[in-house]
Chain length 233, copies 2
């Protein structure tokens, strides 16, 4: 066990499964395989990569987890369109993430919501404006909005609707995955001695901007709406 | 094999490894384990989950791939801060992604670059402005900018620097991962019969805005700079 350590700094050991996984992904990419194309059999892959079937199975299991391959009845393993965000989804646990990552993610929210104005304007419909109005009206009538939990509920449903209105599924899913982190950060904010004050632009103001304004007005007003959070940068 | 199919729509089969993976993640989260905390041994986990060691090993391999656990000498397996984006990184192959996902990702770029103005202004330094100027000057002097490849090179190095200036590592890494997709989309644009024209705002104009303007000016000018891409929404 007592090996001399002459390395300047420790490097992460790459396991056999890591190597086989990398080689497999490289293989798929280099052979220009498309979704639906069949993969070689486990035994063939094991021979080709010079490793045991167990190791191949482990690497395939990882790719299956990422949605890059799936097993089809009668056809065997085929390549599939990977799920871009499933890997992120699995690790998003506020308990486990560092403060630094949480802060990064919270900032990402501020960036996305100010930046997505053009997408919203390009794709908004009367129905979607109506949904926003419903949420804002319910919020205005709710006697419980002095409670953080109630305020958060309306905040989330209003802003989630905006993401949906971008018509960009990746963006929408990204946001719903990040929600636990947003919640956590807003709960932290609420325990601060100097609580962030509400912005000058309300949800109703944002709706009015969508109806009569431009993407540029909307960016300005959304930035103003998010001021309490921006002030903490 | 001939089972009656009374399900209204097919559901994806959940493999044993998927279940064990989910149970393990749930276990880590419910027990409020933090980075650095040791995990139970493989044999203990197998007993606790009622599955074979092989299945536990497969699930652990997946978590290791996501950076959620690592093996330490003498300490055994410990929980580690997961790498938020490693799962995305692995599946980002323009060859394999659908047109729809590629379009989503390209739009995400437009959203991020217009939205990140406040982060850039909060954290810019004289050195970072100097780096942007160096890139823009080299671009202006390069005789090869009529070639797409050369133009793309400067475009990427200028915009990557802006992401770096946000001081948000998750954002910066996200961008560098998405680069292959950006490149692909810009190559597609360049083959179109009606090529998008250049925006009215140059890299030099953007630098001037960083020096003497406000985040709001910058958002406006960046939006203008990206107009050729926005026109394709």
């Amino acid at each position: 066990m007592q090996k001399p350590n002459i390395r300047p700094k420790p490097v992460k050991a790459i396991s056999l499964a890591d190597q086989v996984e990398n080689n497999l992904i490289e293989y798929l990419n280099n052979n220009n395989l498309k979704a639906g194309d069949p993969l070689p059999k486990e035994t063939e892959l094991a021979e080709y990569l010079g490793v045991s079937r167990n190791v191949v199975r482990e690497a395939l299991s990882r790719l299956r987890m990422l949605g890059m391959i799936e097993s089809k009845k009668r056809k065997g393993m085929v390549l599939s369109e990977p799920d871009l965000l499933s890997g992120v989804e699995r690790v998003l646990y506020p308990n486990i993430l560092s403060e630094e990552s949480m802060k990064d993610i919270f900032e990402l929210r501020l960036v996305l919501e100010v930046g997505m104005a053009d997408l919203i304007f390009a794709r908004l419909t009367e129905e979607s404006i109506k949904s926003l109005e419903d949420i804002a009206n319910r919020e205005a009538r709710d006697p419980g909005t002095n409670k953080l939990k109630t305020r958060l509920k309306y905040e989330i449903s209003f802003h989630s609707k905006l993401y949906e209105m971008t018509g960009n599924n990746t963006l929408k899913r990204f946001q719903s995955m990040l929600l636990p982190v947003f919640n956590y950060m807003m709960e932290v904010e609420s325990t601060l001695e100097h609580k962030p004050e509400s912005g000058k632009i309300s949800h109703f103001d944002l709706i009015e901007t969508l109806k009569t304004g431009t993407p540029s007005n909307f960016r300005k007003n959304m930035r103003e709406h998010l001021t309490p959070h921006y002030d903490r940068l």
